[in-house]
């Protein structure tokens, strides 16, 4: 390499290193200045400045390794500025920062295993990671773009920490005893617990029943809304989707109001006092109501994308209606039906709210895990039950994703075709319309009863009008309501952003480990909330990362649990965008980041907003994971409602639920108006 060539190499590199320089200087400042903040020994929590000081400042005197950590940063600066060949620079930076990573992990895992990571150490850790990303981009990986390689590495590490690591901790809890690996421990614990088989049987029975029923209900709605002559069908869509924005317990409460011991139907109309609803029947009704909307969404996509020309072709070839259905339509919608069924099974197994409220003696896995922690303080049992639950949902998820999902993906997300649709056969049409109307009215009555329930003194016993539950909410519920709103508002944009970024990386770039990257990021859909909850409690209660008790861990759980929705809608939206648009932007001189910002994001607005809406709603209504993570300071709406229900105060609970539903409707309306203004009506409809 001649002298002039080297010179050119250096000047272009230095120009590009601007951000590296700034980044390193800021990090150096943070790491060296922050320790002079007041030191409180014995900090327990990763995010307090005290802990930060304890970890860096305090250790500074004791361990020369600290100087190594800071030295690595300083050398990064040097390597970025001094002239050398591309390959050498990349390798120096790579190995230097790998050394830094190794040193920081060694410090916290081996030298001071009892001290948690502090903020400063986390900054350092990610600084090293970003420098590694930088070295890879110098080598020309991923078109030499540091934003993309940095995102991949950062998100990859976060996925490992917040999805894989907690699962490993659970696994460890159940198979490690006295510091030794004892796989048989798992069976021993479960065998010793008398209800294991009953719980397993209950869960599977519930999941399969709910899977079948909610698929059928979803299919009925999909056929009516997509294919019926019935002119009022458009209004039905709203009712059928209502359960999606409903907090847990609402349907459960409504069912108690209708069919419980003092229920409107059971007590008032039939004059009986029965608690038959508590157990299998109650759970099945409530879950079918809750999950039918999801299978409707899947199946309406499938039914919608059925090409009428195929049916017409079949008719012109001499087939009758039944033959056409059997040979053309059924094979085409079969993968969609399998999809809806398997996803309903996962949701049913993961559901915590309905079984805890309506289960009675009918224990299922999700509730048993909760009870074995809360009631028996038995972490090992909880972990072992968690592993059983996880392996069932995971198997179902893998079947769905790699066997069924692949076949039907295109039809679900493909752009809907606008064309004349063939109406259903008359008899089928009328019976489906009849069924779905009854179902919609039933849903409406249930929701009505919850709204009413908030305004009567004591449902079924003293039905006089009162506002006392709402007054009670103002004193009892307001703090948790505000916390919930705040955390949902913080986590929704973060969740949507991370989800869309993952969708962008996965659908636009090739990189080593992309397959596991994508799998793990979608995995959280298949991990039941209770499992995440106990996983987080067990993993982040002890060093190196101590996060339990903070609001941060709740936001983190929201982000990683609700991310898959953003990923899905993002991937579907990105599929519609020709990659040459992005390439055009890049050849016109824009960086990948600018391209993402100016070209990709404006074009996937609908996906952004559906991601936002879903993340917000799911954060507002989450219960299963957060019930393990809340503290007295970070009470959430759903946990407060559960506590009220357990205390028998159904009135306050329903009042609170009504307020939550209204809040979410207002929030969605605001987002809807926002999208309408930004991206046109169609985008808004698609987003909602």
């Amino acid at each position: 390499m001649s002298a002039t060539e080297i010179k050119r190499d250096i000047t272009t590199d230095i120009k590009k290193e601007r951000f590296v320089l700034i980044g390193s200087i800021v990090t150096l400042l943070l790491v060296t200045v922050l320790p002079f903040a007041p030191v409180h020994e014995g900090a327990r929590n990763t995010l307090s400045t005290a802990a930060f000081s304890a970890t860096v400042w305090h250790l500074m005197g004791k361990f020369p390794i600290i100087f190594l950590l800071v030295g690595v940063l300083a050398l990064n600066l040097l390597f970025s500025v001094v002239g050398m060949s591309r390959k050498l620079r990349a390798n120096l930076i790579l190995y230097l920062n790998l050394l830094g990573l190794a040193a920081i992990l060694y410090l916290f895992l081996v030298v001071t295993p009892k001290t948690p990571f502090g903020v400063g150490s986390i900054i350092l850790f990610f600084a090293y990671l970003l420098f590694i990303a930088r070295s890879m981009s110098i080598l020309g990986y991923i078109r030499g773009d540091v934003f993309i390689s940095g995102s991949i590495i950062t998100i990859g590490v976060l996925l490992i920490i917040f999805i894989i690591f907690p699962l490993l901790v659970i696994l460890g809890k159940s198979v490690v005893a006295d510091g030794r690996l004892v796989p048989s421990n798992f069976y021993k614990v479960l065998a010793a617990y008398p209800s294991t088989m009953r719980i397993l049987k209950n869960s599977l029975m519930m999941a399969v029943t709910v899977g079948v029923l909610s698929t059928l209900v979803g299919l009925a709605f999909a056929l009516v809304i997509e294919r019926s002559r019935f002119s009022l069908k458009r209004y039905m869509q709203g009712f059928s989707l209502l359960p999606i924005i409903t907090p847990p317990f609402v349907i459960g409460l409504a069912i108690i109001f209708m069919f419980g011991r003092m229920g409107f139907v059971t007590h008032k109309l039939l004059g009986i006092r029965t608690s038959f609803i508590f157990g299998f029947p109650g759970i099945v009704i409530a879950q079918t109501l809750s999950f039918a909307p999801m299978s409707y969404l899947i199946l309406s996509g499938v039914v919608h994308s059925l090409d009428s020309a195929l049916e017409e072709a079949s008719y012109t070839l001499g087939a009758g209606q039944w033959q056409t259905f059997k040979n053309v339509i059924w094979p085409l919608i079969r993968p969609g039906i399998a999809n809806a069924f398997l996803l309903s099974v996962i949701e049913s197994l993961a559901d915590f709210g309905n079984p805890i409220l309506l289960g009675g003696d009918f224990d299922v896995l999700a509730t048993s895990i909760y009870l074995s922690i809360i009631g028996r303080f038995d972490e090992v049992l909880a972990a072992s039950l968690g592993i059983i639950l996880l392996s069932i949902t995971l198997t179902t998820f893998i079947i769905q994703r790699y066997w069924v999902g692949r076949k039907s993906y295109v039809t679900i997300t493909g752009k809907p075709r606008r064309q004349a649709v063939l109406p259903l056969p008359k008899i089928l049409d009328y019976s489906l319309v009849g069924f779905t109307s009854i179902w919609a009215i039933f849903t409406l009555i249930l929701y009505g009863s919850v709204f009413l329930g908030g305004f009567v003194k004591l449902w079924g016993i003293n039905n006089s009008f009162t506002l006392m539950h709402y007054k009670r909410f103002l004193t009892d519920g307001l703090p948790s309501y505000i916390t919930t709103l705040k955390l949902a508002a913080i986590s929704a944009p973060l969740t949507a952003a991370v989800g869309l970024l993952i969708a962008y990386l996965v659908s636009r770039y090739k990189f080593v480990g992309k397959q596991p990257f994508e799998f793990v990021s979608m995995l959280s859909f298949a991990i039941p909330g209770t499992v995440v909850g106990i996983g987080y409690v067990m993993a982040f209660n002890v060093p190196p990362l101590v996060l339990t008790g903070t609001a941060t861990i709740i936001v983190i759980s929201f982000i990683f649990r609700n991310m898959p929705v953003g990923i899905r809608s993002g991937m579907a939206a990105l599929k519609q965008i020709d990659t040459s648009l992005e390439e055009a932007s890049i050849t016109l001189g824009a960086s990948n980041f600018t391209t993402l910002n100016r070209v990709v994001l404006p074009l996937i607005k609908p996906a952004i907003f559906s991601g936002l809406v879903f993340s917000f709603v799911r954060a507002m209504t989450a219960i299963s994971a957060v019930i393990f993570l809340v503290t007295a300071r970070t009470k959430l709406a759903t946990t407060v409602i559960l506590a009220r229900i357990e205390a028998g105060k159904l009135g306050v609970a329903t009042a609170y639920c009504s307020i939550l539903i209204v809040t979410m409707m207002i929030a969605i309306l605001i987002m809807y108006v926002f999208v309408r203004r930004m991206g046109g009506e169609e985008a808004a409809v698609q987003a909602i």
Binding site: G140, E583, A584, I586, T587, S591, N592
Partner: protein, 359 residues
């Protein structure tokens, strides 16, 4: 206009290869693209031409080899720092921006002053004949207009090299012809070094200074259009560029440096070759359909045959004729008033100086 004249540079590819997994899309391609020239990469789909273009643009990183722009090694330079712009097959106009915003995009991301951007966009629009279209949305333009916007957007940055990726394949035949002319004139007026990818041989012949024919990841032949059309060096190029009849011939003797005496179905001809054949061997010869004529009087070195089908085209008649030397395609411009229907017995003669040994 004058301010838009480009600083152009030679582009040089050195043993460039690209593997996608186990598939080798481009194999050790070396190529020089001289200053101010329009070089076309021509070949069937999957031959690697688009991959080469994308490596030049920086959208793919080569597996091995080098790319030089002038004296600079740009092999690993990120695409957005290359000063090489591209016109895409789908035009890739940003659907959420109007014509002005599309063309101004590259200047905006460079943070140029607003006044300068306005001036440059104005000139670029004049150049492609779309003044006054600034506020149109890209969906409100016809295919040809979209194409022009795409060209203006690429030119406004004064790139050192301009790349075209099958830019005309979405246009109808008439418009395509017109756009060929416009693109070629623009490229010449600005003297901008260009690489043009197409699978359409007539497009390649029409607009190129040099054509590079590719087959299965390697260069099959390169040269100026007339040379490739008249003297293809192998049957693939002969067949790919223009219509060609490939016949078996026996090499009788060599004459001078570039001619051979051959025998085709009993007739002897003196033909050109580019690769020296062996005397006594069997070789492929090529003759274009328009270089075969009917010899109704039966004079000359005739070949007897029977019409398989005849297609009236207006300007000519296309025939497929079954002869003892094989099926021959014939384009008859001279006697097109006389339609020889299926089954007619005919005599054919070759224009001897247009027969070429392609071996």
């Amino acid at each position: 206009m004058s301010s838009l004249v480009m600083e152009a540079a030679d582009l040089r590819l050195e043993k460039l290869s690209k593997n996608f997994g186990k598939v080798q899309a481009v194999r050790e391609i070396s190529l020089e693209i001289p200053h101010g020239q329009m070089v076309t990469l021509l070949g069937p789909s999957g031959c690697g031409k688009t991959t080469i273009l994308r490596m030049i643009a920086g959208l793919e990183v080569p597996s091995s080899g080098k790319i030089y722009l002038g004296d600079d090694d740009i092999t690993y330079l990120p695409a957005n720092e290359r000063k090489i712009t591209m016109v895409f097959q789908s035009y890739a106009l940003f659907p959420h921006m109007n014509v002005y915003q599309n063309i101004a995009y590259g200047l905006k991301v460079k943070h140029l002053p607003e006044e300068q951007i306005r001036q440059a966009v104005k000139e670029a629009l004049e150049m492609v004949g779309l003044s006054g279209f600034e506020d149109r949305g890209s969906s409100e333009l016809s295919g040809g207009q979209q194409q022009r916007v795409a060209v203006a957007r690429a030119l406004v940055l004064k790139p050192k090299v301009l790349l075209f990726d099958e830019p005309l394949s979405n246009l109808d035949a008439k418009l395509r012809n017109r756009m060929r002319g416009e693109i070629r004139n623009l490229q010449r007026d600005l003297g901008i070094t260009s690489v043009y990818v197409t699978h359409d041989q007539s497009e390649a012949l029409a607009i190129s200074d040099k054509i590079v024919v590719m087959e299965n990841a390697v260069i099959s032949q390169e040269g100026i259009p007339t040379e490739l059309y008249r003297h293809p060096s192998n049957p693939f190029v002969a067949d790919f560029i223009g219509d060609a009849n490939i016949l078996k011939a026996k090499v009788l003797s060599l004459e001078g440096d570039d001619r051979a005496r051959v025998e085709i179905s009993g007739n002897e001809y003196t033909v050109f070759y580019s690769n020296k054949p062996e005397v006594g061997s069997e070789a492929d010869i090529m003759i274009r359909p328009e270089d075969i004529q009917f010899a109704d009087d039966g004079k000359g070195k005739t070949l007897k045959g029977r019409v398989e089908f005849a297609l009236y085209q207006g300007s000519n008649i296309d025939y497929l004729i079954e002869t003892e030397a094989g099926e021959l395609r014939v384009k008859d411009y001279l006697t097109k008033d006389k339609f020889r229907d299926r089954g007619t017995n005919v005599s054919l003669v070759f224009r001897e100086d247009e027969i070429f040994l392609v071996h």
